[in-house]
């Protein structure tokens, strides 16, 4: 913890205030390397890891057994390209995407009203809290066998797994957002004769939006996890998870990694999208509240 942590917060000495021009001059004088060091190191390290992975089979002779389980980034990229070029990925992709969207959509529809209700009513909160805590703490995967018994093998089982994964982060965050709403604003709106519905629409929802969006970000991760595990453990007979599981059984390791890359890309894209949405929806908000 010596002098290398440029990221650590250090209090600016009072005497530094008048020489602000000098500071600005410093910024323009930064070299290209200094300005881009962060990204260069980050991307460089990823490239380095991929290269290392690529050259391992060329410098080490793998035993025949290991050879079966090994793949290289170029092979994964080729497989990925072929899957998209030949179009064989699309039915599986479509299945997983539909299950994801329906499950996430249902969880949003269920979580927002319920979150507002338990946020506004102490009684409902006290009564539902044990169930929410218990279900949120337990990995939802534990319910997969019973979901298969109830909903059968197919789309609906996957949708239900996605739903129970995504609904709790949304519910808990909506609740937290509603509880965080300014009492004063609620009282003002009520004094002006607003109905409960109008209070929810005018005060509660805009106030809890950052919380809900943060919950959505968590929920997307959980939903993708739900797709993977539900499809792995016999929740359906098609989908990207099924494709990966079959491939693992046949030692087609490149297909497994191709599937992982697809899921990784999807979650990064969607989380990025949510961040953009977050920035858009909270443009009107004062800066200190924005960074929830």
């Amino acid at each position: 913890m010596n002098d290398t942590t440029s990221t650590a917060v250090s209090p600016v000495p009072a005497s530094a205030a008048p020489v602000r021009d000098e500071g600005l001059g410093e910024i323009t004088r930064r070299t290209f390397w200094e300005a881009n060091e962060r990204h260069a190191l980050g991307i460089g390290f990823i490239v380095f890891v991929l290269l290392l992975w690529e050259v391992i089979p060329h410098i080490l002779t793998l035993s025949r057994g290991m050879d079966l389980f090994f793949t290289t980034p170029t092979q994964v990229a080729m497989t990925l390209y072929n899957m998209f070029a030949s179009g064989e990925i699309w039915p599986a992709f479509k299945f997983s995407a539909v299950a994801f969207s329906v499950g996430l959509g249902l969880s949003i529809v269920a979580a927002l009203p319920l979150g507002v209700i338990i946020g506004r009513s102490h009684t409902m909160n006290a009564m539902l809290d044990p169930f929410i805590t218990a279900f949120n703490a337990t990995p939802r995967l534990v319910f997969l066998p019973i979901i298969l018994v109830w909903f059968g093998i197919g789309m609906w089982s996957v949708v239900v797994v996605v739903f129970i994964g995504a609904v709790f982060p949304l519910l808990i965050n909506t609740y937290a957002g509603v509880r965080n709403a300014d009492r004063l604003l609620i009282n003002v709106v009520r004094s002006f004769g607003a109905s409960e519905w109008q209070i929810n629409k005018l005060v509660i929802l805009p106030n809890s939006m950052p919380f809900i969006i943060a919950g959505l970000r968590l929920a997307i991760g959980r939903a993708i996890l739900g797709i993977v595990v539900a499809e792995f453990f016999g929740g359906s007979s098609e989908g990207i998870g099924v494709m990966m599981n079959d491939a693992a059984g046949k030692f087609q390791v490149d297909i497994v990694f191709a599937g992982l890359v697809i899921f990784m890309a999807l979650s990064l894209v969607m989380v990025g999208g949510v961040k953009v949405l977050e920035a858009r929806l909270s443009r009107w908000r004062p800066e200190n509240v924005k960074s929830f």
């Binding site: 913890m1 650590a8 009564m127 792995f232 899921f263």
Partner: protein, 257 residues
């Protein structure tokens, strides 16, 4: 009396609603709907089955078997995660280099490599321990990283000015300010570790909590399956609420992080 009710309102309402839930479930399947044991069970049968599993010692041996890879994987995740996180926070360049790669890995559903891990490392303790390690290490890395970055430089300087040595700086400033982050990371990691146990045991196992749940469901022994699900829920709640309680007790100044 009224004060008492007001103070304990949440626990009272909570336990009443849990009891009502189980009573309602029991009543519904006893009087209203005929019980079909192939798709549903009821609390009396579940608790009876659980009692039998406890008496025969089956439950305890399953818990022990599931606990083993959990301890190894989680322990390794703590050690490696804290080490990597500290390096990332301590040396800015290490942080820059590792952050994007680890973020991408953290965001991706790593459970998807479970079949490969099982193929590589076998169906025994080691395969599951490695799976748990892979899932749990990221919360520790990122929380330690955030914790080390947020150490107040002013406090370090104050301790130094007042004549404290390196040991004082570590024990009085750095550890107390990083520890809450690590504990919060442990809370996330516990949930992921439980997922790891279940995935590992659903895939390939001959005993353990997850294995039993899958097996009872295949046998249509739903009462016993629900019993084991309840055990899993109790374990999960004990872990997460235990950590939350420890957080409140040890760091009362940063509740709600």
């Amino acid at each position: 009396m009224n004060d008492f009710v007001y103070k304990w309102r949440n626990p009272i309402f909570g336990s009443v609603s849990v009891v009502l839930f189980f009573l309602g479930w029991e009543a519904l399947l006893t009087w209203a709907i005929p019980l079909n044991p192939f798709i549903m069970s009821k609390p009396s049968l579940i608790f009876e089955g659980l009692w039998l599993e406890m008496q025969s010692g089956q439950l305890w041996s399953d818990l022990l078997i599931s606990g083993q890879p959990f301890i190894f994987g989680f322990g390794a995740a703590i050690v490696v995660g804290i080490f990597v996180g500290t390096m990332m926070g301590w040396r800015a360049r290490v942080g820059y280099a590792l952050d994007p790669l680890l973020t991408a890995l953290y965001a991706s559903p790593l459970v998807a490599i479970a079949p490969l891990v099982i193929i590589f490392f076998g169906v025994g303790v080691s395969g599951k321990a490695i799976l748990i390690f892979v899932l749990c290490v990221f919360p520790f890395v990122f929380n330690t990283y955030a914790g080390v970055k947020s150490v107040d430089r002013l406090l370090v300087n104050v301790v130094r000015s007042l004549g404290g040595n390196e040991r004082d700086i570590y024990l009085k400033v750095i550890v107390p300010s990083v520890l809450p982050f690590i504990i919060a990371g442990a809370r996330y990691a516990i949930g992921r570790a439980l997922v790891g146990i279940l995935v590992g045991e659903f895939f390939a196992a001959t005993a353990g909590i997850g294995y039993r749940i899958a097996w009872f469901s295949d046998m249509f022994e739903l009462s016993r399956m629900f019993g084991y699900i309840l055990v899993m829920m109790v374990v999960a709640v004990l872990f997460t609420e235990g950590i939350r309680w420890a957080e409140r007790a040890a760091f009362p100044w940063r509740v709600g992080m």
